[in-house]
């Protein structure tokens, strides 16, 4: 790709990204907005690829466009067809105040974009700081994995990832407090059912592959977790009641597994005299893989539960007892 055609490709890509972003926000119908947003996510994934960020491209496609889109569509689905007046696209106050407000906000946003651009132009004109990437490539060998992004995520800045898993756990606990899951979907027709019969095993296989390959190539726990979640979502859409989610205590265990194992490893290392989350070089690879597996399960369970939109309808006998106990206080 000679530079000129690369420039044309870049221009086209960016135009479509900005165009899709603008379109998804400009429409009045929420469904069109969400679908355009998903398209925006996918094209953005291409842009990540163009900027040599494959890990992020995978995550964007799977989580950013895929699952966020699925969540938004599920929510948009519950909106009654004729949108109630107050939630139409055009802002509430149409009068003079509305116009002034819109102009003021637009002005504010352009000013914000201007300052950002001005600061970034200044940054790009000076030589980029390579102090941190240099240190990473120097310490990559000691990190137990060869993919630098996974090394940063799970070794150098492991503490960030631990807290990020806690964020996921908080989100799903918050969703649980808000009530029961949405009603399920009607059973799928033969074609969709056939597709599901093939698609789900493939999704599970790719999830396993992505988990394993993350150590030395783009991939890792988040992308694998998203794949697994996709399998669960597809089963849910096909109207299946059992979508592979454990129940009761096991479900809570899986949800807590990601953060729990991470914390357990960190604390045992601390007890053994090493710094918190400071994996010994010999064990780093296996430890990271162990943590990533637990993280994958937790992420998958969390994202599926988010798609369900609430506490899953317990089906088993024990669950019935559990539900009955729920109602009587002091149980």
């Amino acid at each position: 790709m000679n530079p000129v055609s690369l420039l044309v490709f870049d221009a086209l890509l960016l135009l479509s990204i900005v165009g899709l972003a603008w379109a998804s926000l400009a429409t009045s119908d929420i469904r069109r907005g969400v679908i355009l947003f998903m398209a925006f996510g996918l094209v953005l994934a291409v842009a990540w690829g163009r900027l040599l960020a494959p890990d992020v491209a995978l995550a964007e496609a799977a989580i950013g466009a895929g699952l966020s889109g699925a969540l938004l569509l599920a929510a948009a689905h519950t909106q009654p067809r004729p949108l109630p007046p107050e939630s139409t696209n055009t802002p509430r106050n149409h009068g003079a105040v509305g116009v002034v407000l819109r102009w003021a906000v637009t002005l504010l946003c352009t000013a914000l974009a201007g300052t950002l651009a001005w600061a970034l132009l200044h940054v790009f004109s000076s030589t980029p700081h390579d102090m941190l990437p240099g240190a990473i490539s120097a310490n990559l060998a000691a990190s137990g994995v060869s993919n630098p992004v996974t090394a940063v995520l799970l070794n150098f800045r492991a503490y960030d990832t631990l807290l990020e898993m806690a964020v996921l756990l908080t989100a799903v606990l918050g969703i649980f407090t808000l009530g029961q899951a949405n009603p399920g979907y009607q059973p799928a027709g033969p074609v969709f059912d056939g597709l599901v019969r093939w698609l789900v095993p493939v999704l599970i296989l790719t999830a396993g592959y992505l988990l394993w390959v993350g150590a030395h190539a783009p991939g890792g726990a988040f992308q694998a977790g998203a794949m697994l979640a996709a399998a669960g979502v597809v089963l849910r859409l096909a109207g299946r009641t059992r979508i592979g989610l454990p129940e009761g205590f096991m479900l809570r265990l899986v949800m807590a597994a990601g953060v729990g194992l991470f914390l357990l490893v960190g604390l045992t290392l601390l007890i053994l005299g090493r710094p918190f989350l400071g994996y010994p070089q010999a064990w780093a690879g296996t430890l990271i893989l162990m943590i990533e597996t637990a993280a994958m399960l937790s992420i998958a369970a969390t994202l599926v539960l988010a798609f369900l939109g609430g506490r899953p309808e317990a089906t088993g006998v024990k669950a019935a007892a559990n539900r009955q106990c729920e109602e009587i206080p002091r149980c």
Binding site: L116, V167, L169, G278
Partner: protein, 478 residues
């Protein structure tokens, strides 16, 4: 002593997981974790007092590469306050929530909130601050919507959207800083950053995001409904700690990391917004119909006082007077934390026992719950800034700083604000002198009233009389 730092994050996180896995004995596990974390906070405070600022590199990687945890005087004090307030509110919550399912859902989120607060006060890395802010926002929203009533859910949703907007602005600022200086560690950044086209926009973006989260005056609209409709222990922690965390970050960025980037003009802008918050918050609190709304607007006003310190601290040259003013600021932060938590817990008792918290019909209730009324009075004394309370010392330093630097506007605003605060507090206490006969047993619900009383007493008496060590601790900079 550095293990105490890890303990402060790991213990509540482990507690959260334990309460999630064992819903039946969630309360016992939670209170146990709470005690352990408070001990850890005490150890840290002792460590910082004896050995000076503590520093811990997670994973053993040097600060540039990995994430560093830092604890200086200021963060150690805030951690200790957080521990005491959350522990007291936990004891209160164990009696406040009646059914097992409510408690099973409450405790994990509660301990996750505590984890995020401790992680935020300890963090020495910009992106890590973003993640802790996000964890704090989400757990606070989840807790605020715990009641499940329409008002609570609507307020929680608006709070979440505002929080997300704030976090995105903060992340944009972090991105700019990383682009410009190639490092995310606060200590190295403080050495490297210099005024320029990268530092100003980045600081502006980060500050805008944080002001949204700390509900400073023009951006405070989301706070009153969210804090007023949340369950009592949650609104206590929201008002006393969660908004303070964002303020702590503004303080850390402006006075510590970006010290030479910040201009007095920008500080004056913060001061003016703070003054607006003081007057507007107090005025709305005076007209509030419900006790919880009054307490929420009083939070908006009290935050205004904290921002009044910025123009003073920047105008004063580094030296003893500036340390005194900084000490006054911390004293106000701590006293408001304890007082507001005590006030909300007391209001929670009134709301639970009498079914309503409208101020006009308080006559009978204030008589049947004398200990609660006494807690409200003590908390009120601390909120107004009357002598035995720590806020009196804080306001004294604020007035002294205003006189020293000749910025008389802040002096006038503080005076008016304090009188308005006296008006809306004594409007409530005035109702305590109704006609009902005096009940024989002053404390009716021990497990709920003692936390409220102890918190309010901490603000109104202990901090006021035993506040001197705060200034000594603050000299231990990062």
């Amino acid at each position: 002593m550095t293990d105490a730092m890890i303990g402060l994050v790991a213990l509540p996180l482990a507690g959260a997981l334990a309460t999630l896995l064992l819903p039946r004995s969630a309360t016992a596990v939670a209170i146990g974790t709470g005690l352990a974390t408070t001990v850890a906070a005490g150890l840290l405070l002792f460590g910082v007092a004896t050995q000076g600022a503590l520093h811990y590199e997670i994973g053993g990687w040097s600060a540039g590469l990995g994430i560093a945890l830092r604890a200086d005087g200021l963060s150690a004090l805030l951690l200790m306050m957080t521990a005491l307030v959350v522990l007291a509110a936990s004891v209160y919550a164990s009696a406040y929530f009646s059914t097992v399912s409510e408690r099973a859902r409450f405790w994990p989120l509660w301990l996750l909130l505590w984890t995020s607060l401790n992680a935020l006060f300890l963090s020495g890395d910009l992106f890590n601050l973003y993640v802790t802010l996000e964890l704090l926002g989400l757990s606070a929203v989840a807790l605020a919507s715990l009641g499940g009533k329409r008002a609570a859910v609507a307020a929680a949703l608006r709070y979440l959207l505002v929080g997300l907007l704030g976090s995105m602005m903060f992340l944009a600022g972090v991105g700019l800083i990383y682009a410009g200086y190639g490092t995310l560690d606060l200590a190295t950044l403080a050495r490297v950053v210099e005024p320029g086209p990268v530092a100003w926009p980045a600081l502006a973006m980060m500050t805008a995001g944080l002001l949204l989260k700390t509900a400073l005056f023009p951006l405070h609209f989301w706070l009153p409904p969210a804090h007023a409709s949340a369950p009592a222990p949650v609104s206590a922690v929201l008002s006393a700690l969660v908004v303070k965390a964002a303020f702590y970050l503004v303080l850390r960025l402006w006075l510590d990391v970006f010290a030479n980037v910040v201009t007095p003009a920008a500080a004056n802008l913060l001061g003016v917004l703070g003054a607006g918050a003081v007057l507007w918050g107090s005025w709305r609190a005076l007209q509030a119909e419900r006790l919880k709304l009054l307490a929420a607007y009083s939070t908006v006003a009290q935050l205004g006082y904290l921002f009044l310190f910025f123009p003073l601290l920047l105008a004063l040259p580094p030296g003893p007077t500036r340390d005194l003013a900084a000490g006054g600021l911390v004293m106000l932060v701590l006293t408001h934390g304890f007082a507001k938590a005590g006030l909300f817990l007391a209001i929670g008792i009134i709301q639970q026992r009498c079914g309503h918290d409208t101020i006009r019909e308080l006559d009978g209730t204030a008589q049947r719950l004398p200990a609660t009324t006494f807690a409200i009075a003590l908390a009120g004394v601390a909120l107004i800034g009357l002598p035995p309370s720590g806020a009196f010392l804080g306001k004294w330093q604020l007035l002294a700083g205003a006189v020293e630097t000749g910025q008389w506007l802040w002096l006038v605003v503080t005076a008016i604000g304090s009188l308005l605060a006296a008006a809306y507090i004594f409007r409530v206490i005035g109702h305590a002198f109704g006609h009902r006969p005096y009940p024989n047993q002053p404390v009716t619900v021990a497990r709920e009233e003692w936390p409220a009383l102890l918190l309010a007493a901490m603000a109104a008496l202990v901090l006021g009389l035993a506040g001197a060590p705060v200034w000594k601790l603050l000299e231990i900079g990062t």
